[in-house]
């Protein structure tokens, strides 16, 4: 097979993943730092490189509405957003998951106003964990491209039929150029057959879709949605394996462990910062420190079993949150903590909140987190929640 490696940005990698997945309809409203993706897609449609309808919509709310409508008639659909745009879609996100329309979306993770900020953190998508969408977070541009293709396979699976959001960090991934292998179209076609859905709106087989419910049956709809999300776990693993068999790249499903086999102290993180954590681990391992990383790939469905399994093996767990749920703690930490509480063992836990509004997370800061986890473990401390590298006086 010919070497098809190109030097492109994360946004462009997403656009390539979408092109290869052959959606029928793309509807999106541009917003920094997602813009390049939708520009490329509109160019590809215009140039005839994609046989898709590019719907020019006046807002993100319309984008999600248009993709839902198209999905209802059996079309494969794509949309993309970020930050305020994603939040403007929020009403539609619930509608879409409740309608069981497997729309695939790219979200460029970006901070949420106020203060107004175009830079990256993960407060946008994490605030929508309860919207019923599968959420995956990627670490580099190749994973972004590959996960768009996988997303259709997972979302459209008959046991899942749930929309999926592929999250990549704004600027750090969307605007960084790197080497990306473009999969062969024929192989993608083989991996990802045409979309078939039992919930199709058609004249041949008329159905009532997008209806209302009464108190005596609403709970059952929500129960089934929840079951579908749990069904996704097996589908995610199988899709990862099938993808690896065909394309040679494996992402390990719900989570990826790095140097956790014999680790005492582990950091848990999402997205691009995982890469920097790996570099710090290599340095500290060379100094004899038994440190590791749990890269959470899926926030919904949540990798409860994987977190419990890790917690049984290690002594201290720190969670990096590029997010804060005001009045409590980071949302990733809340989720991780809930899983850890299911095992009967003392694990020192700490939540490191930072990297907000685009602030760099440095190798020195990550090393400092590991050292704090060692110190907390030695002192048998209670859990701690801190904003790291804070430039104002902390009340703690």
């Amino acid at each position: 097979m010919k070497n098809n490696k190109v030097f492109i940005s994360g946004d462009e990698a997403v656009a390539q993943g979408v092109r290869l997945s052959r959606p029928h309809v793309v509807a999106a409203y541009p917003i920094t730092p997602q813009t390049i993706t939708v520009e490329r897609l509109s160019e590809m449609v215009e140039a005839g490189e994609m046989d898709a309808e590019y719907m020019h919509v006046e807002s993100e709310h319309s984008a999600i509405s248009a993709t839902m409508g198209a999905s209802a008639v059996g079309a494969r659909t794509f949309t993309a957003s970020s930050s305020q745009g994603l939040l403007y879609m929020a009403e539609g996100l619930h509608y879409c998951s409740g309608g069981r329309w497997p729309v695939v979306m790219m979200n460029a993770n970006r901070s949420v106003a106020l203060p107004w900020s175009i830079y990256g953190d993960q407060r946008d998508s994490l605030s929508l964990l309860d919207s019923g969408w599968i959420q995956v977070y990627v670490e580099d541009a190749q994973e972004a491209l590959d996960m768009i293709i996988q997303a259709y396979k997972i979302a459209e699976h008959k046991d899942v039929l749930t929309p999926m959001m592929v999250n990549l960090d704004g600027f750090i991934l969307t605007h960084t150029y790197e080497l990306v292998e473009i999969p062969d179209q024929e192989m993608v076609d083989h991996f990802l057959p045409a979309f078939e859905t039992p919930n199709k709106m058609s004249f041949e087989n008329p159905k009532n879709l997008g209806f209302s419910s009464r108190p005596d049956d609403n709970t059952e709809f929500k129960y089934q949605q929840n079951e579908a999300m749990f069904n996704a776990i097996d589908v995610i693993h199988k899709t990862d394996k099938d993808f690896a068999d065909m394309f040679g790249r494996k992402y390990h499903g719900m989570v990826e462990e790095y140097m956790c086999e014999d680790a005492d102290v582990v950091l848990v993180a999402l997205g691009s910062v995982c890469g920097t954590v790996r570099v710090v681990i290599d340095k500290m391992r060379a100094e004899g420190k038994k440190v590791g990383l749990l890269k959470i790939r899926y926030m919904r469905p949540f990798p409860v079993e994987e977190v419990k399994d890790l917690a049984k093996r290690v002594k201290a767990i720190g969670v990096i949150d590029k997010d804060i749920s005001f009045g409590y703690e980071g949302t990733v930490y809340t989720n991780v903590n809930s899983a850890i509480s299911q095992i009967d063992k003392y694990v020192f836990k700490s939540n490191f909140v930072g990297g907000l509004g685009g602030r760099d997370i440095t190798k020195a800061e990550i090393e400092d987190m590991y050292n704090k986890l060692y110190a907390g473990l030695e002192n048998k401390s209670e859990e701690t929640v801190e904003f790291f590298s804070l430039n104002v006086e902390s009340n703690d």
């Binding site: 030097f7 830079y119 600027f171 991934l173 790197e178 080497l179 570099v279 440095t362 190798k363």
Partner: protein, 179 residues
């Protein structure tokens, strides 16, 4: 890992140069690279930075560049107080200038190199677009990528007619730096 910092003004093509270097190192050089601009809105004429990271293995480090191994200055008016921050002692600083000696005092901790990229660009392109001249000069001075890879990256990125002119610029930049 080698980290390169590019100084230019919005519209001068500094980010394009950072990408060309990434393409030469990775697509044509068998190494790994990341190229990224200083994130955020850009304006024509305003000072902008771009960065390239190059390594033999896949680059996982997504943190900002803190200590550059090479610095390229496409517009010498950008050498202002504080410029020297974030550059490794002994690092190569390559400046588009007619007289590099004027910076000997301010930048005494670094290995200074100069090239009159503006004259070179005017000679070949008829316009003061210096990004490929500086790119060629960096490739020649640093050995980060070969001349062949540098030229190949230009053909990967640019349309044929523009690529021909910029190939000439890279050739001449190599000649000037090697003299």
């Amino acid at each position: 890992m080698k980290e390169i910092r590019w100084h230019g003004r919005g519209g001068q093509g500094g980010f394009t140069a950072s990408r060309l270097l990434g393409i030469a190192a990775s697509v044509h050089g068998g190494k790994h690279a990341l190229a990224f601009p200083s994130f955020g809105p850009e304006r024509r004429g305003a000072p902008v930075l771009a960065f390239t990271k190059i390594d033999e293995t896949k680059i996982h480090d997504r943190s900002e560049v803190q200590e550059s191994d090479f610095v390229v200055v496409m517009d010498e008016t950008l050498i202002v107080p504080g410029f020297e921050k974030g550059i490794k002692p002994g690092a190569c600083v390559l400046i588009n200038t007619q007289d590099v000696s004027q910076y000997a005092e301010q930048l005494k901790d670094f290995e200074l190199k100069g090239i009159d990229a503006t004259s070179l660009a005017m000679e070949v392109l008829g316009r003061p677009i210096t990004n490929t001249a500086m790119y060629g000069a960096l490739a020649a001075a640093s050995g980060l990528v070969s001349k062949e890879a540098a030229i190949a990256s230009i053909h990967t990125e640019m349309k044929p007619k523009l690529a021909q002119l910029n190939e000439q610029i890279v050739e001449k930049a190599f000649e000037l730096m090697n003299n």
